[in-house]
């Protein structure tokens, strides 16, 4: 995988609203200026702590004392056979599923188990579903507008108008996901790949610190897959990204560090070459 074009990188830097200076940026510096819910404290370099997480459904342990750390700015790929607990893990992080045991922290200070889905989303965790989920009857532009960080209250929404800065930010994301030409198309009219990008764009509009991306290239053409790889690698560093994917070629093209889940536990974890050489991994997953 060749490095993404410089242009894309700088764009991603602009998008994520942070410069490369050492000073930790205010989240959403580029965005609305609306009061943000307190972001995570990542002073220890780790953005997500999952410790001893256990989730069981009717006796079946979807997650079995899973422990996983995601570092700030990391692009982490997670693979595993069906039923390994990948989606359940995302459900726990986003507040959809409450674990039976264990703890989940976003940075040093935010206890994910004590917050609801919208609160977690507003704190800076964005999630892309396995099946692309966009607002089909809204235009591409409106999809991004609704995803924008900012006040989520009903009354404000009645009189809310896009400011020039907000409009500009939507334009930037439209450019980044390559849908500028289709901004007024209803999202339902987009191709499968375009919907996936729109959904990533919607995540970007939220200015998340952590992106959870579930099977981003499922059903994509090779060109679309390549473009998605560029997009995700360009975003890493500015955002922490966790990608769950089955497509091994795609994983090889973007992964720096790979985690293999198996039966609700971490089976192997490390640089991709090392993991691929792991005998147990070959046995349960790659060997199939």
């Amino acid at each position: 995988m060749k490095p993404p074009p410089r242009k894309l990188r700088s764009l991603a830097a602009k998008l994520s609203g942070r410069s490369r200076s050492a000073q930790p940026p205010r989240i959403g510096a580029l965005a609305t200026g609306a009061p943000l819910s307190s972001g995570p404290d990542t002073s220890h370099g780790v953005i997500l702590y999952l410790e001893e997480i256990t989730v069981s459904f009717d006796g079946f342990k979807a997650l079995d004392a899973l422990t996983l750390y995601i570092e700030t700015g990391e692009l982490r790929c997670i693979i595993g056979p069906n039923g390994a607990g990948k989606t359940t893990m995302m459900d726990v992080v986003t507040g959809k599923t409450r674990p039976d045991h264990g703890s989940a922290w976003f940075g040093q200070t935010i206890d994910l188990l004590a917050h609801t889905e919208p609160e977690i989303a507003q704190a800076g965790i964005g999630r892309k579903f396995q099946k692309p989920t966009v607002f089909e009857r809204h235009s591409v532009f409106e999809n991004l507008e609704l995803s924008m960080v900012g006040d989520r209250s009903v009354w404000r929404g009645l009189i809310a108008r896009l400011s020039a800065a907000e409009r500009e930010r939507i334009e930037e994301v439209l450019e980044a996901i390559g849908l500028a030409e289709r901004r007024f198309a209803p999202a339902g009219a987009l191709s499968h790949g375009e919907k996936q990008w729109l959904e990533i764009g919607m995540l970007l509009m939220q200015n998340p610190r952590l992106l959870l991306v579930d099977e981003p290239v499922a059903g994509m053409t090779p060109q679309e897959t390549e473009r998605t790889a560029e997009l995700l690698t360009a975003l890493a560093g500015h955002h922490s990204i966790v990608v769950v994917e089955h497509d091994m070629d795609f994983v090889r093209s973007i992964a720096r560090r790979l985690t293999v889940l198996h039966e609700g536990r971490v089976l192997a974890d490390g640089p991709i070459e090392q993991v691929q050489a792991d005998a147990r991994v070959i046995e349960v997953y790659l060997g199939e």
Partner: protein
């Protein structure tokens, strides 16, 4: 993407600027214009202007044809017809309320007649107090049915309702409070779909039973009738009836504009987003329950206003207004007219009610079959209702599609 690699076929997929675009990445000028339309222009799009203009004309012309045209003239509109049209107009406002919550927010309510009836009862209480000592029993304080039941004092919730303004507040507050409590409980527990619909049916049925009872103090199964006047104007006089009609049509137009304002606002787009992909809306940080609750309460208040306008024109309100079948009929009007479009709901209410008036006089025995047939037909062949026939034309600028 502003300096893209050229991949074969990329332009077709919309990834690259179209060759004829003068500057890459810039949208077509008309598209920009569409996005930058002022909120006022967005609210007052062409169909809205048309609807409001037509309603304004009706509010002026129908009263003129009644009051200024002599009775023997072919153009004269009878006072009876004016009352009928006023009834349709209040039903149309009720249909807008249901469309907002069902068509835009995706909550199929089968209990909206309850809010309509509550608004109607609030107005009815005022009208009963306004009768004063002119009732059959001549009691200056107690309405006839209370004297008949040997009640000695006015129940506390009847106090002060001889003031119109207090009744007007109650018209808004009673449906709003019920919707707030019911909606808060239902949406917080994430009750959705058919379960919620059944609960709304149960709600209106329970209220019907409560209002049927004499002890609740709302006139039992007779309800309220025999109204004399409103704000000192005789309810039997043509002028009063024509004025009530004009007020109803004006309120309908204002209600239409209010709904249009809501659905074109960002809140309106969130409400529609909740309808289409609730979990996605939740994961991008919207408190879905708050939006549903807000829409539900707003819709209930509109329905209450419609009920308050309905009662002085038909001259009676009784517990049958709460009957579950009434709520279902509203949904049928909206389905036939076209849910998710305001003008569709309006047209559906007017058409179906006109048809009902016609058929129940001409062929009374087939009306219910005709109504059922219309509903099934609309569901099978016109999923977008009558409005869906119009909206099938390609629309420039997607925002037009959301109104």
């Amino acid at each position: 993407m502003s300096a893209p690699k050229v991949t074969p076929g990329a332009a077709d997929r919309g990834l690259l600027p179209h060759p004829r675009e003068p500057r890459p990445g810039k949208p077509a000028p008309e598209a920009v214009a569409a996005a930058r339309r002022s909120p006022l222009a967005l609210v007052l799009d062409r169909p809205t202007l048309f609807v409001v203009l037509v309603l304004a004309l009706i509010a002026v012309i129908v009263p003129l044809l009644n009051l200024a045209v002599p009775e023997h003239s072919a153009l004269h509109v009878r006072t009876y017809t004016v009352g009928l049209l006023g009834k349709y107009a209040s039903y149309a406002l009720l249909a807008l309320a249901v469309d907002l919550i069902w068509g835009y927010c995706g909550i199929l309510t089968l209990g909206h007649a309850a809010f309509f009836a509550l608004g109607g009862y609030a107005m009815g209480m005022y009208l009963m107090r306004e009768i004063g000592a002119r009732g059959v029993y001549g009691n200056p304080l107690l309405p006839d049915f209370m004297v008949f039941l040997n009640w000695k004092a006015l129940p506390w919730y009847w106090r002060g309702l001889d003031h119109f303004w207090l009744a007007a507040v109650l018209v808004l507050a009673a449906p709003a409070m019920l919707a707030l409590v019911f909606g808060w409980l239902a949406f917080r527990s994430r009750v959705t779909g058919v379960y919620l619909s059944i609960m709304t049916q149960a709600l209106t049925y329970a209220l019907m039973l409560a209002f049927f009872r004499n002890e609740t103090g709302f006139g039992g199964n007779n309800g309220f009738t025999g109204f004399k006047d409103i704000l000192g104007f005789d309810l039997q006089a043509s002028r009063t009836r024509v004025a009530l009609f004009a007020v109803t049509v004006v309120v309908l137009a204002l209600g239409y504009l209010a709904c249009r304002f809501v659905v074109t606002s960002r809140t309106g787009r969130v409400i529609q987003a909740v309808r289409d992909a609730e979990s996605r809306a939740r994961f991008i940080g919207y408190r879905v329950e708050s939006y549903k609750l807000w829409a539900f309460v707003f819709s209930a208040v509109l329905a209450g206003i419609a009920g308050a306008l309905y009662v002085p024109q038909v001259g009676i309100i009784n517990p049958s207004e709460f009957s579950p079948i009434n709520s279902i009929e509203i949904v049928i009007w909206v389905a036939i007219g076209g849910r998710g479009t305001l003008y569709g709901a309006l047209a559906g209410a007017l058409l179906v009610n006109y048809a009902q008036t016609y058929f129940t006089q001409a062929l009374p025995e087939i009306w219910l079959y005709a109504l059922g047939g219309l509903f099934i037909g609309a569901t099978l062949f016109l999923p977008g209702g009558l409005a869906g026939l119009i909206a099938r034309r390609p629309i420039a600028g997607s925002r037009a599609a959301s109104g």
